[in-house]
Subunit: 423 residues, 2 copies
């Protein structure tokens, strides 16, 4: 390692991790036996970190350790180790509100930039399940729960102002990770940038078109200003389908190292946008045309079910526990207050849907024209077919970014997706 | 003093201040001579602090010291001394951007919660000038400059994201002062609250009506959410006409102890709303009906000139120095980018005008139904006449809060003000 790291930091290997874990009693006990009986394997396939699975006679754990650079790019792009600090804080804070939807945390070591947490098994990454065409009957319900609980309960609708400002202050330091989002999502896809890539030459003309699409660029900057300044709730910050681990009966959100106080729609949009990418990529995963028709339909239903489940639960929390300083419940106690307050909540939810669709569209575009792509599309070997899927996705994404605020119902999304797939 | 204060803090009196100042070389030198030759008088007429003027043979200074409670209410409402810390930080930060529009700072003592600053003389508080019917030919130009420079240059349109987050983080701790605003402006006027007062019985029915005006209460809460979460720029936080010191040729903003990262429209609205209160109170300061017609017209012209001057300067800064991370200038270099980018800026300014009018309306209402009133109206001895002025102001204020976002030009405000005065 040539990059300078703080004293005490070392990047572990499968060979060196065991003796470190043996010195943490709660972890050693959970694994059982001792290091010689532990199997350690590095499984990180993300862009930024080392991830180890450690199996012992009594149980297993996952160890996630930050590297001082962006793994996807290399040591030329240094990245502060403190992100493990913010990831841990977000796991704890979100875990308080939706404990069943996050991995349990067993140990945190700030110097080593390392978190020991629950080994989710037999969970797989949702993205892989979507590529395989697997139906998850509880997915929408779980994601709706995750989003509603974590976003509502870290917002001004639930917290006292002073409490919220303290959390907001804490996450103000997670600027380096935010900067990645600012550049890779809100800026680079709309200009020539060294790190950009796309399916070429098939998408060359369209990439140029996007760089010259002034209304789209303006919309991207409008959303960037929201990302920079709208401290609505503690958001995960990177909630794509690679940050969700699933089984038939369980769903967990991992990797909140991008967490900070930002617009709620950024998290919701990450889920919806990545589901739409999964939808448009199905054509690349069919053995014969139409084979995945039913699955495509299922994905679109999940988008509706996630939003509608989220909205119902969010409104439920707002109606039942309106204790935040943001909207003082004591102002609305007369019977005549009911309808106007309900209309106010309708407007709030409508705006949030618009935000979610717009940010969702941004997340789709960056996966096709930016640095980091998604396996849903990348795994389509035939570049013609992949480019065709990508063009359809871009058609909807652009529409969402520009006009998402005018969409009045999440039920309008599926017809739009079908239209862009078939036109 | 029965309230506990930190070690080292003492509230000064005119008798004890001199020897303290004598130990600060830069201040002692500025005053000249020594304590026996200095005249100290306490002149604070605000709600929260001690303010001393110290005159020496060579010059004079103002000393502002925070008290550990709200002066207007008494020791029953404690208030953290740290607000002097935030006031000083805001004076420094805003002073960097608009040095001619703020008092110079000579000394800051965190333990004593005390700022020694320029003695503005022969300045008077703008509010008093407005009550007297004095015309200030440079007022609009100066206020426009103040607002444009301080708001633009602390926003994401000018700052790098990491830099802005650090400033934002710093001011996250100024929660107690923010809480005063949250309660006294956004909440209490719309409910029965012990501290509320109004011209009674003349305004009793209207006060009740406002507490039952559900759309208005919803709008107030919508704006409160913006105040709590929209970290657009470092705002003064209390920029009413009592925070502006004026002469015929000079204008300065003082008292930014409420400063934090919030919506720009809150500052602009504070100025506009307080000018509108001055407008509606003129009827109470005329020796004969119509005597102040010209002055009324002048006030309305100031509202237009302040907004238009602000907008021109703000747009100028944006066009000339677009170096912030919020809207990346490098994205808009093609000739075809011009019109759409201009339309984007138009939308930005339109939204800001709407915010300013809405927050301005909120500031007007709180001065009539809340705890802290304004001398413009309070000094009208005849309660019937005062109530009449207040009712007219409330008519416009309610309209601004509810429909300010739909106003397309600041030039629509004056006719609305005239209408509400005469109806």
């Amino acid at each position: 390692m040539t990059l300078e790291t703080p004293p005490g930091y070392e990047a572990f290997t499968p060979d060196t991790l065991g003796s470190y874990l043996a010195a943490i009693p709660t972890v050693a006990e959970r694994l059982g036996g001792g290091p010689p009986l532990w199997q350690v394997s590095e499984v990180g396939d993300g862009n930024l970190n080392l991830v180890f699975i450690v199996d012992g006679p009594a149980g297993s754990v996952v160890v996630k350790q930050a590297l001082p650079y962006v793994r996807l790019v290399g040591e030329s792009w240094p990245l502060p180790l403190e992100r493990a600090f913010f990831e841990h804080a977000a796991l704890v804070e979100h875990g308080r509100h939706a404990p069943e939807r996050l991995p349990k945390v067993y140990h945190f070591d700030q110097t080593k930039a390392l978190i020991v947490m629950e080994h989710l098994s037999p969970h797989i990454i949702l993205r892989k399940g979507l590529i395989a065409g697997t139906v998850y009957p509880h997915l929408a319900e779980h994601v709706a729960q995750l989003l509603a609980e974590t976003l509502f309960k870290t917002s001004d609708l639930h917290l006292a102002a002073a409490e919220k400002k303290q959390r907001m202050k804490f996450f103000c330091d997670n600027t380096e990770l935010c900067r990645i989002t600012e550049e890779l999502i809100f800026t680079d896809p709309y200009r020539e940038a060294e790190l950009n890539r796309h399916t070429s030459p098939q998408l060359d003309a369209l990439a140029l078109q996007f760089r010259e699409d002034t209304p789209l660029k303006c919309a991207a900057q409008e959303l960037k200003l929201r990302f920079l300044g709208d401290a609505q709730a503690l958001i995960h910050g990177d909630l794509h389908t690679g940050s969700l681990m699933v089984t038939a009966n369980d769903t967990r959100a991992i990797d909140p190292e991008f967490a900070f106080y930002g617009p709620m729609g950024f998290d919701i949009g990450a889920v919806l946008g990545n589901l739409l990418l999964a939808y448009f990529s199905q054509d690349g995963h069919e053995a014969r045309a139409g084979e995945r028709d039913g699955y495509r339909q299922w994905i679109l239903e999940q988008i509706e079910a996630i939003w509608e489940g989220f909205e119902a639960r969010f409104r439920g929390l707002w109606n039942e526990a309106p204790r935040g300083d943001g909207v003082v419940a004591g102002l609305f106690t007369a019977p005549t207050d009911g309808p106007a307050l309900a209309a106010f909540k309708d407007r709030y939810m409508h705006r949030l849907l618009g935000d979610s669709l717009r940010f969702g569209g941004m997340k789709m575009i960056r996966r096709i024209f930016g640095l980091a792509h998604v396996e849903d599309l990348e795994s389509i070997a035939d570049p013609e077919l992949r480019a065709a899927c990508e063009k359809r996705a871009l058609g909807l994404a652009r529409e969402l970014v520009l006009f998402g605020a005018q969409v009045t119902s999440v039920r309008d999304v599926a017809p739009a997706a079908r239209f862009h797939r078939l036109r």
